[in-house]
Amino acid sequence: MTKNKLIQKLPYKTPFLFVEELLEINENGAKGTYTFSKNLDFYKGHFKDNPVTPGVILTECCAQIGLVCLGIYLLENDGSATTENIQIGMSSSTMEFLLPVYPEEKVTVTSKKLYFRFHKLKCAVKMYNSQGKLVCKGEIAGMIKSGANG
């Protein structure tokens, strides 16, 4: 499966798709980018007259690139499962935020698989800004299943 096709399989769309380009993906992890457009709606309110990307959105971006893209890849590689209509749910996240991310910044997310067992995928994720500085890091876990055969 090509990386482009994988992005098309993501169960998200604008305004809640936070994956732009998938750079690397294999059994052990994923790497991808996203650029936060200044037109994203939440900047109007976070904060008043001082737009900064909310931590929860950074976490979501890490989860979409690091966990969901990887999860779809792993399910697909498994062969037994179809990745149409996948069901996903984040089950836990512990994140540390080190630097702010402003509108129009491009970030790169890397993830490393900790385990994928019994439909639960847990990853260590890191997000870097365009200067290569670490923006946030943590661990995210979720349940991921293909919809068709449960």
């Binding site: 749910g89 089950s91 836990s92 067992r117 019994f118 639960k120 876990a141 349940m143």
Partner: protein
């Protein structure tokens, strides 16, 4: 390891993942992990991974599907230890 010891070890693992409204005293042999102890499927996976480490066994997807109650878990553990 006796049956009681295995039960105690299992309870020690389960209690880490109990939601706030369920206490250790609620755990019995018949307790259903999801319906009675209110453990969600993600935490049930954590329990299984901890069980594997604690008892030095390997569990399969079928084991997870059979593991509905505390008793089921103990039976599966016993089967693997034999």
């Amino acid at each position: 390891m006796t049956k009681d010891e295995r039960y105690k070890k299992l309870k020690d693992i389960i209690k880490i993942y109990l939601p706030e409204d369920v206490s250790v005293a609620n755990i019995s042999m018949e307790s259903h992990f999801i319906n009675e102890l209110n453990i969600n499927s993600a935490n049930l996976v954590d329990i299984i991974l901890d069980v594997e480490d604690e008892f030095d066994i390997m569990l399969e997807n079928e084991d997870m599907e059979r593991m509905q109650t505390v008793q089921d878990a103990l039976q599966i553990i016993e089967g693997k230890l034999d």
